[in-house]
Symmetry: C3
């Protein structure tokens, strides 16, 4: 069994945003030399997500508005977490809806994907450096 | 390390529906010959889910109504994704709540499950052929 | 490839609660002797979650109130699942928002974690014994 580890870094200039990270994950798979196995891609932070969905800007606007409806940022004093001096309690909730991680099969050295699947980093408390872990195991 | 790959196909006759796919996953594990490892089961589409919960029809009706409350299908013009000609933006959201994938331990050649755990395919934009990937690694 | 399996048991004295189980997962990794691989941690029940987020009591109170708003426990007769004699339909929904499982990379014999990542058991229908599965594969 082989394993490979890589960190990706992001600094989203706004509070929230989505970035397609599929090319970086594909590059990590090539670097690993692993042909059959699994790739785990997870946020190393608790106010952001890694998820798989469609690379369509209208959908991303819908996600942003929907998540803001499910867990509004304002008023920040509605959340006890924000009593600690933070203002990001909503980001901890949005991240639970969208998920921390994805696990994707590697077959013949490629992401074993359906037609429209793409991997995204979802930021809910940006404007600082954040890390994503790519861990690959297989042969 | 051994690996095994299988695709399952579904064509749900309505927009939304839940199907217990545990027997098909168990069959794939038998076919793989893998006794110790992990099985990844994921939707290859971005408007459907694979999740683990209870095989109880009342609960499935509750899930359907609850998801429709969190992310209503109508009016379709509330979503920018639907400006592309689609009417399935709500399905992309319902799928995020229910999840894309499950990962289950294989122990002694069996799904290592609690008493009530069953694997479901959750469709939120049906009436066409959809695929689920089963990828098994282990020994 | 090596594999290791361990069950953790919990009996939360109230209906809902969160427990930091990171030390128990770290202990299982030490017991396994696995230095490079993956650890799957999942609830073996369908009314509880395993998730990764912050060990901050204010946030846990926010999660509890937020989940209660998304899927209220009362009135119990709003859910068809509760026609079976149960009163825990809401727990099946809360668990879907928070997730069944987490998968964490093991690097150099340690949980490969960001600064604030901690693993939690999330109970939504407690006051009885529940199990969590830890399955580790690697080398």
């Amino acid at each position: 069994m082989k394993s490979y580890r890589k960190e990706l870094t992001f600094n989203i200039p706004s509070r929230r945003g989505f970035v397609n990270i599929t090319p970086q994950v594909e590059e990590a798979i090539r670097e690993s030399g692993i042909k059959e196995g699994l790739v785990l891609v997870n946020s190393m932070h608790i106010t952001s997500s890694v998820f798989i969905n469609d690379d369509e800007s209208g959908l991303h606007r819908d996600y942003d508005q929907w998540l803001e409806r499910l867990a509004p940022h304002e008023p920040v004093d509605q959340y006890r977490h924000n009593d600690t001096g933070e203002d990001n309690a909503d980001a901890h909730m949005k991240r639970q809806v969208m998920g921390r991680e994805v696990l994707v099969a590697i077959t013949d050295g490629q992401l074993d994907f359906g037609t429209w699947e793409q991997i995204f980093y979802g930021e809910f408390d940006g404007r600082r450096k954040k890390r994503v872990l790519v861990k690959i195991i297989g042969e």
